[in-house]
């Protein structure tokens, strides 16, 4: 098997940096436009809860923190599932989702810094006065989940410990899997494969619990009064589809550059089926959450959708459903669209953006209420994060061969036929 390497050329690096630069420029223009046209700040200055432009910036930073953390950790999950299930078909393309994981340490750091820098603007439960006598009883009841073992309203030790443990274990298992995968290139044999299977199983079990709790911590606790038992699945579904779509897109783009000769249309077909099936899964979970709340019609639950049905967010609410369900469902239904790169190249970016929008509608209405919006700032911050993520991802992809030539199932993968 001839070794193939992806080269992160100077031109590609320049393009990624231009993307980041454009993002910064767009963000600044967005902020300037907001301040010129708005004047929201002065209107409610006296109340002490006036809206400032930087709150919208914080909200955007948080959306992208979550979104790209998800892609990084679910990339590792995809890799781990292939090993735990002893899957053969994916042997040639597993390195791509694995390389997403390189974003994990940066994502963890960004998340932690973000929480200390502006967690107060994102999370209502960080306000100490809620826990005083005569404060908010509902939030007081939930205080232990954030502050244990310290007194509620002081320092959210339990919350931060979870964040650090999750990122720590995710990164540790990712690094372990990565070093074993590269070891295999040198040593051959099946020892590394067996070890990777074990670590993969550990990762999956840990991820099952941690991803769910992470979604309560980082997303659901924004709407502190509200809760949904579907939330962990819902967040996971969104992360998972976005990662599958990004993996497919990267495979298609690499193949267009004449790389990844071990991947053919049968593998693309499987990836397409993944995106198709889990878009339906996402819709199923979305609807399960919606229907329960709609049917029970309890005010403390319906408030979540009342906020998202306001004039400001209703378009986002419906566009979210169209991009993430109807669009991939109808377009990826036929066999041909899953097997041809020109279809996948159009569909997958839309699905990725759709799931970014899903996180936008999870975070923004809760953080900014009626002050939210969709403008150049949103696009700009997304560009900055995308550029940074791509830089980390592509430079780590270039460091190792594109596929594992000593993978025990590579031969099986080459004969994959559906």
């Amino acid at each position: 098997m001839v070794e193939e390497r992806f080269e992160f050329s100077a031109k590609a690096k320049k393009n990624v940096l231009i993307l980041i630069g454009a993002g910064i420029v767009l963000s600044i223009i967005g902020i300037v436009l907001m301040n010129m046209g708005g004047g929201h700040g002065e209107a409610s200055e006296g109340g002490g809860h006036g809206f400032h432009w930087y709150q919208r910036l914080y909200s955007n930073l948080w959306i992208n923190n979550i979104f790209f953390t998800g892609i990084a950790v679910v990339g590792v999950l995809f890799f781990a599932i292939q090993y735990a299930a002893q899957a053969g078909w994916s042997a040639g393309l597993k390195r791509i989702p694995l390389a997403f994981g390189n974003w994990l340490p940066i994502a963890g750091l960004l998340m932690l810094v973000s929480f200390f820098a502006f967690g107060h603007d994102i999370f209502h439960w960080t306000h100490a006065e809620l826990y005083e006598e005569g404060g908010d009883e509902i939030i007081q009841g939930k205080g232990g989940f954030f502050y244990w073992p310290l007194k509620s309203g002081t320092f959210p030790l339990f919350f931060l410990a979870r964040m650090i443990i999750f990122f720590g274990v995710w990164y540790w298992l990712f690094a372990k899997l990565k070093s074993l995968a590269f070891n295999e290139d040198i040593e051959g044999g099946t020892d590394n494969w067996h070890q990777m299977r074990m670590y993969s199983a550990i990762f999956i079990v840990f991820f099952a619990v941690s991803s769910s709790i992470a979604s309560w911590d980082w997303l659901m606790s924004i709407d502190t009064h509200w809760f949904s038992t579907m939330y962990g699945w819902y967040t996971f579904a969104s992360w998972w589809v976005a990662t599958l779509a990004l993996t497919t897109l990267v495979v298609v783009l690499l193949k267009e550059r004449g790389l990844l000769s071990v991947v053919n249309e049968n593998h693309l077909h499987d990836l397409g089926k993944f995106v198709f099936a889990f878009s339906v899964f996402w819709a199923y979970i979305w609807f399960s959450q919606y229907l329960l709340i709609y049917y029970a019609n309890i005010p403390e639950e319906t408030i979540y959708f009342v906020e998202r049905w306001s004039d400001k967010y209703a378009p986002v609410f419906f566009v979210n459903l169209i991009l993430n369900f109807f669009f991939p469902f109808l377009l990826l239904m036929t066999r041909d669209s899953k097997r041809h790169m020109r279809f996948l190249k159009v569909i997958t970016p839309v699905v990725i953006l759709g799931h970014w929008l899903d996180f936008y509608q999870m975070v923004t209405p809760g953080v900014l209420k009626e002050n939210g919006g969709f403008g150049l700032l949103e696009v700009g911050v997304l560009c900055i994060y995308t550029g940074a993520f791509l830089y980390v991802f592509l430079s780590s992809l270039a460091k190792a061969p594109l596929f594992a030539r000593n993978h025990p199932m590579l031969e099986e993968s080459l004969h994959h036929h559906i």
Binding site: Y290, Y295, R335
Partner: protein
């Protein structure tokens, strides 16, 4: 297929020999009526040059029918025929119709697909399946060649089959099956 036409039936012992045989026989210009085997043989559709099955189109149409019927039924019943107030919702409470619609879509799509498959594979309950050789239900593969569809002489086809792995070649009339 022509009723009452004569068939040459080649018996194959091994699926790899069969696959190779199919390719060679087709290369010699013999038109194969159908190949029967006791278990699925990977790649046999390509070897036989089959077009892709249109079964999925049938599944889609049955699914669409299921979606429409379920919605018509629920809107008709709950909205017009016997309106009831449930949980303070509208009579036509669209979100609460979705689970039934979803299930009915799946039901009709799968039943419709299975039914279509049975009909096109001659497995309808009122029909009598035609078996070219009883041993295809056990351990033998069978290649059936319709002599009325081939211009090549019977002896020559028989020789081609024998040369390409068939362990025996029998002549059978379709009506006698």
């Amino acid at each position: 297929m022509a009723k009452g036409s004569d068939f040459l039936v080649g018996i194959y012992e091994d699926e790899d020999v069969l696959l190779e045989g199919i390719r060679n026989v087709r290369e010699k210009g013999v038109k194969i009526h159908e190949v029967y085997s006791p278990f699925p043989v990977h790649g046999i559709e390509d070897a036989l040059g089959y077009r892709r099955s249109r079964l999925s189109i049938a599944a889609f149409l049955f699914g669409l029918l299921g979606t429409s019927l379920a919605l018509i039924m629920q809107v008709g019943m709950m909205g017009f025929d016997w309106p009831m107030i449930i949980g303070g919702k509208n009579f036509i409470a669209f979100p609460s119709f979705i689970p039934v619609t979803f299930e009915f879509t799946v039901l009709l799509a799968s039943f419709g697909m299975v039914g279509t498959f049975f009909v096109i594979s001659d497995l309808k309950p009122w029909g009598k399946p035609k078996l070219f050789d009883i041993r295809i239900t056990d351990d033998k593969h069978v290649m059936a060649i319709d002599l009325s569809k081939n211009d090549i002489k019977e002896e020559e086809i028989s020789k081609i089959l024998k040369d390409n792995g068939a362990s025996e070649v029998n002549k059978k009339n379709y009506d006698d099956l």
